[in-house]
Amino acid sequence: MKTRGFFGVDGLDQAVPQGMEYGSQILVYGDTGVGKTVLAGEFLKEGLLCGDTCIYVACDEPPAVMRGHLRDYKVGVRAYEEVERLLLVDAYEEEESRERHFIANQYSLEKYAVLESNLLERFTDRRVRLVVDSLSTLLIPFGQEEILEFHRSRLKSLRRKGILTMDVFVDGVLDQRVMTIISHLYNVNVRMMFGGPKARPERLIQVGKVKSGMFDAVPRRFGISPVFGIIFAPDVEV
């Protein structure tokens, strides 16, 4: 079996024609409301179809939002949750979570790393995709050194375990300098932004493969369909 994964979005996948090795890390960052969570959902759907175990850590909203989002796209969420092929982890509720999987204390990066690692340990015999949406929210209270150290050790560990990881960051939450350093730690950077005229803003996306030094500087236009998810405007460049 091929051990390379894709985003699950035609157009975006063409930017990584050979796919991404399991153990690779993807950084998705962009404006609020641009479609980062929708992309995360596509990434999860793709994983479910390929037989992966998909773990989604919800930091900005309750996991029920992603559950509802997937249901909107006619994914039989319950079937996947029952056999633990899809784990929606609550890292949002500060009080007691009603979810089966939760990360209770989000105020210590060390604790978060241990809890995340413990969760992943349960699936060492499976191919795993991990999405943290958004990691930037977890990092708000911490200093630059602490954030960078957390990143280095966490990403190293995820790579070793062969986890295909997608970390979502909201633009403007972390210091730009920190973001620049962090982005170099990931194999693939996905930048999502609004562009075009103010009266009719467009959604744009850029994909860069940091480690290979290749960065697709051409922003590609995309839209979000309530039925099909992210759709790229065919053969149209901005």
Partner: protein, 335 residues
């Protein structure tokens, strides 16, 4: 019995046995084909002796008795060897072990059972056509032979519903299934369609397959739900239709109708076979979306609430079968 008679019996039994063997491999329901052949032979014999056949009642068992008497008068059979009684709309025909020795079809009957072939008793086929002619109702037959008591028990019952796929026919150079125009979709034609969709609008492919499967099976599921009392029976009929269509051998592993939960497996899925030689998707993945749609439609109609099936295991990835989990489609809370 003269040697020539023995020889004729051998020929008759061999013809029926080979018809059964051939019918097993006929697409679109060998059942119906064999049923029609046996019934048709009965119809021809009936035509021959029609003038001598005068039933005094419209009770199905009395009609059958009157016809057996007609044949008895020709020394064709011993009409007393058959016990007939009504069971609702059906007629039960019993033959004791002693009388079975005189059954001219016993060689075919035993061999067909030994080989687990499709089997329709030619004797019951005659009675089936007599009942159809007398009452204007379609009948079908089944036979149970109890090895312990060695009693042969046949049943002639009105046909509730025939599988749609059994009603495939050529009419004036056109293929019809259940009265509707149909065409055979070869693997090449199916793949061409899939490849074209994947080329021009890859993001719609799975949805198209699921929706087309769902829509195309709603009618079949409705008919099955109306015709049978239990969800299990209705589902099995739907699965039989799927098998006849060449989709694969679908099996119900478990069903909890009140919870809307089911586990279903498919062996030899057509969709798996169709994509095995081409790279339709970038990575190996579950591929049976058309079947997933059909199963979702069947469960939704038969269980009476929206059900969604997910393919948790696909033979395109690993293993010998595809496995589907079904749960009620949950509604999102809207604020």
């Amino acid at each position: 019995m003269y040697n020539a008679e023995k020889f004729y019996l051998k020929i008759i039994n061999s013809i029926y046995l080979n018809l059964s063997r051939t019918a097993s491999s006929i697409p679109f329901g060998g059942n119906h084909f064999l049923d029609e052949v046996t019934r048709g032979v009965g119809e021809l014999i009936l035509k021959e002796y029609e003038e001598q056949f005068n039933p005094e009642s419209t009770k199905p068992s009395e009609i059958c008795k009157a016809y057996l008497k007609t044949l008895g008068r020709q020394d064709f059979l011993e009409d007393g060897a058959f016990q007939l009684e009504d069971d609702g709309d059906s007629v039960v025909v019993t033959m004791n072990p002693k009388d079975q020795e005189h059954c001219i079809y016993k060689e075919f009957c035993r061999e067909a059972q030994k080989e687990s072939l499709l089997f329709y008793c030619p004797r019951l086929g005659v009675l089936q056509s007599v009942l159809k002619k007398s009452l204007g109702v379609e009948y079908s037959t089944s036979v149970d032979w109890e090895p312990e008591s060695k009693i042969c028990r046949g049943r002639i019952s009105p046909v509730k519903r025939r599988l749609r796929t059994e009603m495939a026919r050529f009419v004036d150079d056109t293929l019809n299934i259940a009265g509707e125009r149909a065409m055979l979709f070869t693997k090449d034609a199916y793949l061409s369609l899939l490849t074209a969709v994947a080329e021009y609008a890859p993001f719609i492919l799975r949805k198209v397959l699921f929706d087309s499967g769902y829509r195309s099976f709603l009618g079949v599921a409705r008919e099955a739900a109306d015709s049978y009392k239990t969800p299990e029976k209705s589902l099995r009929v739907c699965f039989e239709e799927m098998k006849h269509c060449g989709i694969g051998k679908v099996e119900l592993i478990s069903l909890d109708p009140s919870a809307g939960h089911a586990v279903i497996r498919c062996y030899q899925s057509f969709e798996v076979a169709a994509v095995e030689d081409i790279e339709l998707y970038r990575t190996p993945r579950v591929t049976c979306d058309h079947l997933r749609g059909q199963l979702s439609a069947c469960l939704t109609v038969i269980l009476g609430c929206p059900i969604i099936c997910e393919e948790m295991q696909c033979a395109a990835l690993d293993g010998e079968y595809c496995e589907f989990l079904a749960y009620p489609e949950e509604e999102n809370e809207r604020k």
